[in-house]
Subunit: 272 residues, 2 copies
């Protein structure tokens, strides 16, 4: 089965319906969805569109943002994660990606924020297990540690996942986030059975002015994708390979052409 | 003895002579120098200015950029590092900081680039030892892995330094580069005897448009400096604490005011 999956943020202007149609036109069998466009479409309708098209959902983005101190904001975040779990279940998604959140406003206690992530995951696991949804901890590039994700390495994500069954809490291996890590080879080997999602996009230079739009199409940057694909292969992962690119130029291009280029670059740089 | 050191790039518009005068006006006892302004001044003249002012040089920035494939460019880089060693010796600098370099143009072989850094350091050590200069391997934030420094963690720098005497090859602990690392506490403890330079500047958000000017004054960002100062204290480091800030707003301000603010923020956020 073809493993290539379009994460819908790669074709940012497409609605769920348009992205589903685009995947079908391109002969893809997987799609990665985001909560906001799914909610705009309606969760049940999105699930129906995906099923009618014969697609499967490689991941739903995203839950997380659970670093707040105990109190109303934290409870609201945990409730929102339960809604995300419900949505992932309705979509039959392979996993719900968790971007864990940065430091609370004014706090410099990084260890404390990380401890609250571990507590938050523990609080969500029973709900996720009851819903049959696998949580996927996503280590984020250290660039985002302060404001987006205090989970900074794959080893750290694996340590946090360790108390739970691999079918309940997995990890995301996103090349953009982990490619620089001098111990990533050992960490991916250690991830055997825990890889819930494998995502590819490139690290490009010069670094763009908007740090959130710094991801490039495979082949436009510095990452050796075949190296990472072989590492996750060796760790036993045979699931979808998702392409998630946040990039102003990619978003400005015709989405069908983006999907065609994604297919070409996937064949050239990820496979083989 | 007062440990605070002004890295001259923090007051970017000042020449060596102006920075030396500024340090004296502010009652500082240490200065960190850069090769380009030192060369503009003349190495012997810079050494004389520093000595006459009663200052000591906490570090000279920078050698490195030794990731090229074997050939003329690599030999030229190694030769340039030998000149940097000569300059550090002439200035009596505590260490020569090595920013090791990014991936060679067109290469995606990160492991290979890292291996060439190790080879390059080995090639430079005898020359540095003969000159009485300590090399200081600087792990860079993973943000700079592709284009500036493939040495990405303190543990990796320590592994690379391990074959050599601590007096010959040390490491730089720069809060900006290492603050996010979930294993940094253990790595700093492991650095005992190897810390050649301790540098402080803050991680600020939102991330500035120019990734090279993303460093903030202590207190303006997310780093818990006291935590790091205590960690390096516990590792036995009692040398200078250098403030190196690349930031457009800092550079636009009056340098004497920048130094005064640096002193105030150092007292508030680093000491105690």
């Amino acid at each position: 089965m073809d493993r290539l999956s379009l994460n819908q943020r790669t074709t940012e202007r497409w609605s769920v319906a348009e992205a589903v149609d685009g995947c079908v036109r391109a002969g893809l069998q997987w799609i990665g969805l985001w909560r906001e466009p799914v909610q705009a479409c309606g969760v049940a309708e999105a699930a129906r569109l995906v099923a009618d098209a014969g697609l499967r959902v490689s991941s739903l983005c995203r839950g997380g943002f659970i670093t707040e101190f105990p109190g109303a904001a934290r409870e609201a975040a945990l409730d929102d994660n339960r809604r995300a779990i419900d949505e992932a279940a309705a979509l039959g998604a392979d996993c719900l990606v968790l971007v864990v959140g940065g430091l609370p406003s004014g706090s410099r206690d990084l260890a404390g924020a990380r401890a609250r992530v571990a507590d938050g995951v523990a609080a969500l696991v029973p709900y996720a297990e009851a819903a049959g949804v696998r949580l996927a901890l996503e280590p984020m590039h250290p660039l985002y540690c302060a404001d987006r994700g205090v989970l900074s390495t794959l080893d750290q994500a694996l340590d946090m996942a360790a108390p739970f069954a691999p079918s309940s809490v997995g990890v995301v291996v996103d090349t953009f986030h982990v490619w620089w890590d001098p111990t990533v080879e050992a960490a991916i080997a250690r991830s055997a059975g825990r890889i819930a999602s494998f995502q590819v996009c490139d690290w490009i230079t010069p670094f763009p002015a908007d740090a959130l739009l710094s991801r490039g199409m495979m082949g436009d940057g510095h990452i050796d994708f075949r190296h990472f694909r072989r590492l996750v292969d060796a760790a036993g992962f045979d699931g979808p390979i998702e392409v998630e690119i946040f990039n102003a130029d990619v978003w400005a291009a015709d989405p069908d052409e983006v999907v065609a280029l994604m297919r070409k670059r996937y064949d050239e740089h990820v496979l083989g």
